[in-house]
């Protein structure tokens, strides 16, 4: 590793998501598709990416709300499985994710004679998240200090720096690693696939990658910054 003397400190930011109901309700899969076409794009983000913020500890049955609803509430496991495999992290543009979800439901409905609907389960409530950023006041300058703070930080900070920071003009983990001269670590974090994990699992992976990077930096490793 080549430590960058000018690397800025990493400022940990945590967050809290306030969930809001949008008043859009789907009782069958066709209604789900129709609402998906019209609903504000932030709601798609809520039911896919912000899903992680609501599942700190345990992932649900499927890794997005649309898949979970189809499988658990409608009891259509085929659509549940097909929606589950639409990976939101394959899409840099949420509109393309919207299109993929709609196309998946559309294709499913053209191959079955009825429109599955909830009978015993709950309808789908479209929602959104208002994200409140929380500066933690914890700033670090070295990878060792970063690792120590990450281990005890509220896990919502992991969500913030992995999924929200870049679009909000803040530091993402990988950008800071890059600035620190930890290029390989930055690349590993970029390649981390969050979709089938939860935030605690992602934190554990980040700690593991940081430990491995520090081990490979020895013996000429640097002292802790903060």
């Amino acid at each position: 590793m080549v430590e960058q003397a000018s690397a800025p400190p990493f400022r940990f930011v945590s967050c809290h998501g306030m969930q809001q109901m949008l008043g859009r309700v789907a009782r069958d899969e066709l209604e789900l598709q129709q609402h998906l076409e019209e609903v504000q794009i932030e709601s798609i983000h809520h039911h896919t990416h912000a899903y992680f913020l609501r599942h700190h500890y345990l992932a649900g049955a499927y890794p997005n709300d649309f898949a979970t609803w189809a499988a658990i509430q409608v009891r259509d496991r085929v659509l549940g499985e097909r929606l589950a495999i639409v990976d939101p992290f394959d899409f840099t543009d949420l509109e393309n994710l919207r299109t993929a979800l709609i196309a998946t439901i559309d294709d499913h409905l053209t191959h079955i004679p009825i429109v599955p609907r909830v009978v015993y389960g709950e309808p789908f409530h479209f929602m959104t998240t208002t994200l409140v950023e929380i500066p933690t006041g914890v700033n670090v300058r070295s990878l060792a200090a970063f690792r120590d703070q990450l281990a005890s930080m509220e896990v919502a900070a992991v969500y913030y720096h992995l999924f929200e920071a870049r679009r909000r003009g803040h530091q993402s983990f990988d950008d800071w690693f890059e600035a620190l001269g930890e290029t390989a670590l930055a690349e590993q974090v970029r390649r981390m696939h969050p979709y089938t994990s939860d935030l605690e699992g992602l934190r554990a992976r980040l700690l593991q990658l940081s430990d491995a990077a520090m081990a490979s930096d020895r013996p000429e490793g640097h002292a802790d910054g903060d």
Partner: protein, 407 residues
Amino acid sequence: MATEPESLDRYRAVAPAGAVETLYRASERVKGKRFTDVNSTRLGGGVAEMLQRLVPLLRDLGIESRWEVIQGDEEFFRVTKSFHNALQGQPEAITPQMLEHYVETNRRNAAQLDLSGDLVMIHDPQPAALVEHRTNGAWLWRCHIDASHPQRSVWSFLRPLISRYDGAIFSLPRFAQRLQIPQYLVYPSIDPLSDKNRDLAPEEVDAILERLRIPRDKPILLQVSRFDRFKDPLGVCQAYRLVKKHDDCRLVLAGGGAADDPEGPKVLAEVMEAAQGDPDLHVLVLPDNANIEINALQRAATIIFQKSTREGFGLTVAEGMWKGKPVIGGFAGGITVQIVFGTTGYTVNSAEGAAFRARYLLTNPAVAKRMGEDAREYVRHNFLITRHLADLVALLTIHTTNAVRAG
């Protein structure tokens, strides 16, 4: 007797890692802001119990938290009880005189109460009309009841009032209404340091079970809830009998009756009859304040049921999960958001389903143990009072500062 409210720092030991520190950080932006709660009683009921704990903790965060209580005569509370029932879908005859008395009582209270605050949170329908007299600050209406299918006439009266708020808060998405104001989702929470949930020494559990005359010789299946048809205690008895054919166990049904539920004694009598002649089926009628007893029963249980067929949020599920027990719950209301199927427990749709899952857990104690551990962690992250406080601080930030950007 209610325990004294705890200081926020004591929650560090039970909240998720870093949560209390983040709460202190989050509240820096709203330090000194005035947060006023208004409800209809200082004692009794879930809302008062919740405010008794939340108000001091908000003060620990440097927020000027106050709690006002609306006053009214018997007629006023008869009217608001009718509102309450009608919002929950029961047919109620509401006359124009009743509405007039409701509005007038709210008007008189508005003149007497200190309704100032940067954020004023009005709980449930009783004080909802105070909004007509709002002067400053943001006003939010917190609805704690299942208002998913309200009687139209009552909702038509309340809707214009609710529309004057800056936002409404519901406990489940399906409780939300068609409104033009923001509708937030805030799950209720349990207090891990209260008598009902705090850690108990094994000797305390043993002593309480002995006092309640529940032997510890075989696995205990437990349901804690009012003797109410929607909690399906007879379905639980049926499930227990199916389990007992193969696995020896006890069933404990513990709860009280709601004073305002005329059906309660009838349901209790049916349960007593079902229990007759079975020394392993225990029916405990407990007083409202039997918190430590409920805590001990939950800790002594092997599996906890909450086999409701209709439910508000059903916080007894989170209470049971917090004790590290797998919970088998009915597929109803908030039970479905508390139980992650197959991971923290099971949701079921029949007595047979409850029996099947209970048998599986009794014959696979290692699975039950891991499920219980996951259940406790799930509650730690989602249903503790510290998360509830974070929601309130976030609402205060959203409505009283310009720190929150869209998106």
